[in-house]
C-alpha cells in the first residue's frame, strides 16, 4: 500500500502558486486498482517550456501516470496541480485547455478528413473546421496540403502527425504523448521526431517512451519509473552518466548506454 503522506498537502499548500513557471505539479500521487498499488507516492513537476521524457520498464506505471494526469484514472491519494489549480476541481473542458494528449497510435479506421479530425481539437472552444488554429496546427506538423485527405488513408507516421496537430489545435500549454514512435518504421519515426523537435519553444512536452536513444537525444530532463515509484528525476545527462539505465533495465542494457 501507499505510504501516508501526513501533512504533505497542507505544508505545500499554495506553494505551486508562488512559482508561475510550474505548469504541472504531481505530489505524492498514488493509484490503487482493486487493492493493488500501481503508483505509489509519485512526485514530479514540469516547468513552462520544458521537454521531459518519462521512461521505465513495462508495467512500471507510465500509462497509469499519464491517465492520472489526464483525469481519466482516479487517484487513491495525492494531488495533481494543473496551472496552479487542483485537477479534480476542473471540468473536462478546462483540463483540455491546459493539457492535450496524443495516444499511442490512432485506430486505423478513422473516416474523418484530416481537417475535420484536427478541428475536433477545438471542441473545448466550440471551434469549427475553419478555425485559424486548425490551419496553423496543420502547418506546424507539415500537413497543410493533407487537409482534405481521409485519416484512414494515411501512413502511420502521417497519422501520428495528424494526432499531434489535433493536440496542438487544442492550444494547451502542455502536450502529452504516449509512445508516439511505437509501430512506426525508421523513416516514419524520424518524421515524427522532427515534427516534435520543430514545435515552438513555448510548448511544454512530456513524452512516455521506451526509446532510450531518443530520450537521450531530444529531452533535457527525465523521470524514470520503476514498479510504480519514481526512480530518478533530473537531467538526462545525469541519468545516463550514472547507473540509471542499469537500475531499470539491468546491467547489459546499462553497459551499452554507459559506453556511448
Amino acid at each position: 500500500m501507499c505510504p501516508r503522506l501526513s501533512g504533505l498537502r497542507t505544508a505545500k499548500k499554495g506553494e505551486p502558486m508562488s512559482d508561475h513557471s510550474i505548469l504541472l505539479d504531481c505530489r505524492g500521487v498514488c493509484v490503487d486498482v482493486r487493492g493493488k498499488p500501481l503508483l505509489s507516492d509519485v512526485s514530479f513537476s514540469l516547468r513552462q517550456g520544458e521537454h521531459k521524457v518519462i521512461i521505465g520498464p513495462n508495467g512500471a506505471g507510465k500509462t497509469t501516470l499519464l491517465r492520472a494526469i489526464l483525469g481519466s484514472q482516479p487517484m487513491a491519494r495525492g494531488s495533481i496541480m494543473l496551472g496552479g489549480r487542483e485537477l479534480s476541481s476542473l471540468r473536462q473542458a478546462e483540463v483540455a485547455k491546459l493539457i492535450s494528449y496524443v495516444p499511442q497510435l490512432l485506430a486505423a479506421e478513422i473516416p474523418y478528413s484530416v481537417r475535420e479530425f484536427v478541428a475536433m481539437g477545438r471542441y473545448a472552444y466550440n471551434g469549427d473546421p475553419r478555425d485559424a488554429a486548425v490551419e496553423s496546427a496543420l502547418v506546424a506538423v507539415g500537413l497543410a496540403s493533407f487537409a482534405d485527405r481521409v485519416v484512414a488513408t494515411l501512413s502511420g507516421g502521417e497519422r501520428q502527425r495528424v494526432c499531434i496537430a489535433a493536440a496542438l489545435a487544442q492550444q494547451a500549454p502542455i502536450l502529452l504523448l504516449d509512445e508516439p514512435l511505437v509501430h512506426l518504421d525508421p523513416s516514419q519515426r524520424m518524421e515524427v521526431q522532427r515534427a516534435l523537435r520543430e514545435l515552438s519553444e513555448e510548448v511544454t512536452v512530456v513524452v512516455v517512451t521506451h526509446d532510450l536513444d531518443w530520450a537521450k537525444m531530444d529531452f533535457p530532463s527525465l523521470v524514470s519509473l520503476k514498479a510504480g515509484s519514481v526512480d530518478f528525476d533530473g537531467t538526462t545527462d545525469h541519468f545516463y552518466g550514472g547507473s540509471g539505465v542499469s537500475r531499470l533495465f539491468g546491467e547489459a542494457v546499462g553497459a551499452k548506454y554507459s559506453s556511448l
Binding site: R67, L70, G71, S72, R91, Q92, A93, E94, V95, A96, K97, I99, S100, Y101, P103, L106, A107, I110, P111, Y112, E116, F117, M120, G121, Y123, A124, A166, Q170
Partner: protein, 320 residues
C-alpha cells in the same frame, strides 16, 4: 451539404403529403366528406405520421449506437435493446395491466424500463468481455437478444389465445395500430430523444474516435454517454410500445447516410432523421399495398430488405 439537406426536406414533405393517398386502394378524394375522407384522415394520415416518427427514431438510434460503440453493425435492434423492450411490453400485455403516470401510458413506461435495463446489460457485458469496439459487443448483443426473445416466447406460451395473437402480430413490428392517439403517444418519446441527440451531436464525432481521446479533448464522456443511452432508450420505448420491434432501419439508413453525405455527425443527425422517416413511410406504404384486406407487418419488409444488407456489410468487413 446544405443542398442535400434541402433535397431531403423536400422529399420528406412530399412523402408525408403523398403516401396517404397510396395503399391497397388509391384515394383520389373525390368525396372528401364521405368514406374517402374518413379513411384518409382517420387511418392513413396518422399511419404515415407514425411511420415517419418511428423510422426517424429507429434510424437515429442506430446512428448514435454506431458512433458510441464505434461499430457499424451496432443498433438498438442488434444489441438486444429492442428485444429487452419487447419482453417488457409482452409481460405488460400478459398481465393485462393498464395505468398511466402523468399522462404517459404504462405500456410506454414498461418499454422504457426494458430498454434501459438492456442498454445497461449490453454495455457492461461488452466492457466486461473485453472492450466496446470489439466483436464481444455484438456477441453480447446477440446473446441478450436471444435471451429476451426466449423470455418473450415464454410469456407468449403461457398467454391465452387472444393476447397471444395480439403479441405475435405485435412482435413482428407493425404500424397497424396507428391512429392519432398512437401518434401522440410516440411523439413525446421520439421528440425528446431527438432533442437530446441534437444537443450532443458534436460529441458523437468525438466519441466515435475513442473515449480517451474524446475525454482529452474536453468531452465529459461519462455524462454524455449516459444522456445518449437515455435518449436512445426513450426513442426505442416510444417506438416499441406502439409498433413492436421494427428491425434493420437502424442499420441501413445510417449506413446510406454516411455513404451519401459524409461522416460528420453535426449534419448526419439531420440527414438520418429525415431519411429514416422517409424510408419507413415507403416501406409501410408497400406493406399496406401488397396484400388485400389486411396489411403485412412492416417489420417483415424491413427485415427482408435488411437481412441481406446486414450480411453484405458483415462479409465486406470480414474481408477488410
Amino acid at each position: 451539404m446544405k443542398r442535400h439537406l434541402i433535397i431531403l426536406i423536400v422529399l420528406a414533405v412530399l412523402s408525408l403529403l403523398g403516401a396517404p393517398f397510396l395503399g391497397e386502394s388509391l384515394i383520389l378524394m373525390t368525396d372528401p366528406d364521405g368514406l374517402d375522407g374518413l379513411v384518409f384522415w382517420e387511418v392513413r394520415v396518422p399511419r404515415v405520421l407514425l411511420a415517419f416518427l418511428c423510422g426517424a427514431g429507429l434510424a437515429l438510434g442506430g446512428l448514435v449506437f454506431q458512433a458510441m460503440f464505434r461499430n457499424s453493425l451496432a443498433t438498438p435492434y442488434t444489441l438486444g435493446v429492442a428485444s429487452g423492450s419487447t419482453f417488457s411490453v409482452a409481460l405488460w400485455i400478459n398481465f393485462g395491466l393498464s395505468f398511466s403516470v402523468l399522462g404517459i401510458s404504462g405500456v410506454s413506461l414498461a418499454a422504457l424500463v426494458g430498454a434501459l435495463i438492456s442498454v445497461l446489460l449490453v454495455y457492461n457485458l461488452a466492457r466486461f468481455a473485453g472492450g466496446l469496439a470489439t466483436v464481444s459487443l455484438l456477441l453480447g448483443g446477440v446473446i441478450l437478444s436471444f435471451f429476451f426473445s426466449s423470455l418473450t416466447m415464454l410469456v407468449q406460451y403461457f398467454a391465452d389465445a387472444g393476447s397471444m395473437f395480439k403479441m405475435m402480430r405485435w412482435t413482428m413490428g407493425s404500424l397497424g395500430q396507428a391512429d392519432m392517439d398512437a401518434v401522440l403517444r410516440v411523439l413525446p418519446f421520439v421528440a425528446s430523444g431527438i432533442l437530446l441527440i441534437v444537443l450532443y451531436r458534436r460529441e458523437l464525432d468525438l466519441l466515435s474516435i475513442g473515449d480517451e481521446l474524446a475525454m482529452s479533448r474536453g468531452v465529459e464522456v461519462k455524462k454524455v454517454r449516459r444522456m445518449l443511452f437515455f435518449a436512445v432508450s426513450l426513442m426505442m420505448a416510444g417506438v416499441v410500445s406502439v409498433c413492436g420491434p421494427i428491425g434493420f432501419v437502424g442499420i441501413m439508413v445510417p449506413h446510406f447516410c454516411r455513404m451519401l453525405f459524409g461522416v460528420m455527425h453535426r449534419e448526419l443527425v439531420w440527414m438520418t432523421f429525415l431519411l429514416g422517416g422517409i424510408f419507413l413511410v415507403w416501406c409501410d406504404t408497400l406493406a399496406r399495398s401488397v396484400t388485400i384486406g389486411s396489411d403485412l407487418p412492416v417489420g417483415i419488409i424491413t427485415s427482408l430488405i435488411g437481412g441481406p444488407f446486414f450480411l453484405i456489410i458483415l462479409l465486406r468487413r470480414a474481408r477488410v
